[in-house]
């Protein structure tokens, strides 16, 4: 019997859906002519495992990996991944600038030009005349090569990336509290939690596969409560038992008030505090429990409610649910906390809630920061691809760490600069000031994503600045500014490792050849190294060889994953570090005695926070401070930006997908009907949103769930740049910009009926 291709597709589709329901036997697909290659989704930081279907040398299908954490589920973006590979604006050959035009060039010409410009700049102005801006979407091996090339080869720490824009505050929160970056918990905790505290995260749209897991837990658990803390009522709120809407930026007061209630109602774990916790204020760990209790006295629910514009009883209820004895609590957050001028503090105040209740380090109790990009954790945070970092928890400013890395990289002592380089926004300010002459941008789109973007778009086109952009697509809002555009291989066209939210590392195998003349970024960077005299430092012929060196860098650190050989990664459906030997199963929960390989089973305490010298996590005394910019008579509305389900980041991928391009690709200004009436704005009207930095026009849409006095728009539209409006103020600790909050005014431009 033969089946048509249509029947085959239907059978496969049915089989995959039924398998996801745990009923795989009900429909079986023919294998057909499809070759299935194990991979990972290209989009958010959830890291869903999937298989890439290849026929005739082209990617024709994907299906979720039922053996991975996502149990076969994908979101709509992941399911439509095949379409991005053949998109009409794939960049297929190098381009170099001739006047106002970017014209086709050979690889030889493009790479020769880059090498000569970078070498000239270093020779004339010193190492800090060049820089690199990378991505949480690049493969680990790609970021590793760039990091080594710039920091050890060119001897500059002008090496930062877009994780600074999304995860830096989460990192600073973890490091400040536990001494080491990255969550201690895992996705499996979602299956055990009795209380979900979701704050600053629209999980339903931004991490839909994890949201599904929360929904499942709510269905199966006993009286599972979901608390959502968000100024907007989002799809995530649909499963909330308690949704607290508040004035943007005031959640710090709410977190402290929740801690106040926990103490006032005897819901704290004083044994845990005695054994596992220290207290700090400012930058010093120099306070005691009594100081913290005194600090909290002022943070009554009534006071927080006054500041936050929410109900005091809501805060009390949230605290009672969170702190209830015998109930396990998991916190989830993302950009609503991170993209703030007090993002580090906001993160730390959430950690405080877990530490004072002892709800940490056991199944279902964990503070779990959700990641925005597929390899921000593995490639950049862990791999040290930021201006103040060296690989695997080491710091540029630490002489011992520099010495370790110099030895491992076989470079002379003193090669690595001791001075941290500029963080993302400051990196582009260096371009603006003319200090940074040559910038290499890989796999990211700062011409659309930087806050106050027009300022930095001008800098990138500044006379004397030389901008290289390596991207799979052209034009983007950054490649249009470039002096050289390099066509990069995309996702299934190359091989490497991604590390997602829960310390899970996974290998993406190459499934097809790159489109046109595109090359993997790994190969491009190795070529640049050879052309600039760094071939000995960067001798790799393949990502496998770089991975061997990466294993040597992580060995003996708190990140140790030396058991993740390439062969094991190819077989496994994700591995969680620490994983220090080939036979080790990986670590679901860090710091837990007997589970984390760095904490022996006979350790006297349940948890050992070994990132800190005293083994204790820190509860920080952090008062409420307002955002960098607040509303006033001239700019009376709060402006907030974010994602929607169907699109991702700057839309270079999702807006290239026919189905997704039809859905919410245009950024609109979401306002409350009451505000609309006051402003004389109707559904579909063209409005102008103006801040102190710039203005952008959007169609208005009236949304009941929007908090009165505020405006939301998504970040994915390359023609309506929300970042013309956003503020480039940054968190003083993490240096992450405050995308989530600024003050604007809105005026109607024309009627939607016009």
């Amino acid at each position: 019997m033969t089946i048509s291709r249509r029947d085959f597709l239907k059978t496969t589709a049915a089989a995959s859906a039924l398998a996801a329901l745990g009923r795989p036997g009900l429909a079986q697909a023919s294998t057909g002519g499809t070759r299935w290659v194990k991979s990972v989704c290209r989009y958010c930081g959830t890291g869903c495992g999937l298989y890439v279907g290849v026929e005739g040398g082209k990617v024709t299908a994907v299906r979720g990996d039922v053996e991975d954490h996502n149990a076969g589920f994908l979101c709509v973006k992941g399911a439509l991944l095949p379409q991005i590979l053949g998109a009409k604006d794939r960049c297929l050959h190098p381009l170099v600038r001739r006047g106002d035009q970017l014209v086709r060039a050979s690889w030889e010409e493009a790479m020769g030009l880059i090498a000569s410009r970078f070498q000239d700049a270093i020779q004339k102005f010193g190492p800090d005349a060049v820089g690199f801006y990378g991505s949480g979407q690049a493969l680990t091996e790609e970021t590793y090569v760039a990091n080594k090339l710039f920091k050890a080869g060119y001897r500059t720490n002008n090496m930062d990336g877009n994780p600074r824009l999304c995860m830096a505050s989460a990192t600073a929160g973890y490091v400040g509290t536990y001494g080491k970056d990255e969550p201690m918990g895992c996705y499996e905790d979602l299956d055990h939690a009795d209380v979900f505290f979701i704050t600053g995260s629209n999980t339903a749209e931004c991490h839909p596969v994890l949201f599904r897991r929360i929904v499942r837990r709510k269905e199966r658990g006993r009286d599972v409560k979901v608390i959502v803390l968000d100024p907007r009522r989002t799809p995530t709120s649909r499963i909330a038992d308690l949704h607290i809407s508040f004035t943007p930026g005031t959640d710090l007061a709410i977190f402290n008030a929740m801690a106040h209630v926990l103490f006032a109602e005897g819901l704290v774990d004083r044994d845990f505090l005695r054994d596992h916790v220290a207290f700090g204020e400012g930058t010093e760990v120099n306070r005691a429990l009594a100081d913290y209790e005194r600090f909290l006295q002022a943070w009554t629910p009534a006071e927080a409610a006054r500041i936050a514009g929410c109900g005091a009883e809501e805060i009390v209820t949230a605290a009672r649910w969170f702190g209830a004895r015998g109930r396990r609590a998991t916190s989830l957050w993302t950009m609503g906390l991170n993209q703030r001028s007090r993002g580090t503090w906001a993160n730390q105040l959430v950690h405080n809630l877990h530490l004072v209740t002892g709800k940490i380090g056991e199944p279902g109790s964990t503070p779990l920061s959700l990641t925005g990009q597929p390899n921000a954790c593995g490639g950049v945070r862990d791999g040290g691809g930021l201006s103040h970092l060296l690989p695997y928890g080491r710091l540029v400013a630490n002489p011992q760490h520099r010495e370790q890395v110099e030895k491992l990289w076989s470079v002379p002592p003193g090669t690595l600069s001791p001075k941290p380089g500029p963080a993302a926004v400051d990196l582009f300010r260096s371009v603006e000031e003319g200090k940074l002459k040559c910038l290499y941008v890989m796999c990211t789109n700062p011409g659309q994503t930087l806050p106050n973007v027009d300022r930095y778009r001008k800098a990138m086109r500044r006379e004397g600045a030389f901008l290289v952009v390596s991207d799979a697509f052209h034009p983007t809002r950054t490649s249009e500014l470039a002096d050289v555009v390099l066509p990069a291989a995309l996702w299934a066209e190359k091989e490497g490792v991604y590390g997602c939210t829960e310390r899970r590392y996974q290998l993406l195998a190459q499934a097809v050849e790159p489109a046109g003349e595109a090359r993997p970024d790994f190969q491009i960077l190795c070529d640049l190294a050879r052309r600039t005299g760094q071939g000995k430092l960067i001798p790799f012929r393949s990502p496998d060889e770089a991975w061997e060196e990466i294993l040597a860098l992580c060995k003996g650190t708190a990140y140790d994953f030396t058991g993740m050989t390439r062969a094991r990664l190819r077989e496994a459906h994700g591995l969680l570090w620490p994983l220090p030997s080939p036979g080790h199963p990986g670590t679901k929960r860090r710091y837990v005695k007997g589970e984390d390989p760095l904490v022996p089973a006979d350790h006297p305490r349940r948890l050992q926070f070994y990132g800190r010298p005293d083994g204790r996590a820190v509860v920080w005394l952090r008062p409420y401070q307002p955002p960098a910019e607040v509303v006033d008579a001239e700019y009376p509305l709060w402006f907030n930006t974010g994602r929607v389900l169907e699109h991702w980041h700057t839309g270079t991928m999702t807006r290239n997908c026919a189905e997704l391009a039809q859905s919410r690709a245009e950024a609109v200004a979401e306002i409350h009907p009451g505000d609309a009436q006051r402003l004389g704005v109707a559904e579909g009207d063209l409005v102008e949103v103006t801040s102190r930095r710039g203005a952008q026009r959007f169609r208005a849409t009236l949304v009941d769930g929007q908090r009165p006095g505020s405006v939301f728009t998504h970040m994915h539209d390359d023609q309506r740049l929300c970042n013309r409006v956003t503020v480039d103020a940054v968190d003083p600790i993490s240096k992450e910009p405050e995308y989530k909050i600024c003050a604007v005014k809105m005026a109607k431009v024309s009627s939607g009926k016009a």
């Binding site: 589709a13 299906r63 979101c75 189905e659």
Partner: protein, 79 residues
């Protein structure tokens, strides 16, 4: 032509009602469910926007649907 396997997640107790509504949608074939709140379905359409139509219009327009999760998407060059 695009063919997708999806799981439709509903609020508790609503799976049967949602299934009844989905069978009225052209190009949607219900394949089964878990008996509680999830349905397995196959969507096929000449215009691949059908997948988005379910994901967006149903989630926004049907309070009993919590999400539509594709598990597979394949394309057929034939219209």
């Amino acid at each position: 032509m695009i063919v997708a396997g999806v799981v439709v997640e509903t609020v508790e107790g609503a799976a049967a009602r949602v299934a009844a509504r989905l069978v009225e949608v052209p190009g949607v074939e219900i394949q089964g469910g878990d008996g509680l709140r999830r349905l397995a379905a196959v969507i096929s359409a000449e215009d691949a926007a059908a997948l988005d139509a379910l994901g967006r219009k149903l989630v926004e327009g049907d309070e009993e649907i919590l999400g539509v999760f594709p598990t597979y998407v394949g394309s057929d060059p034939e219209p």
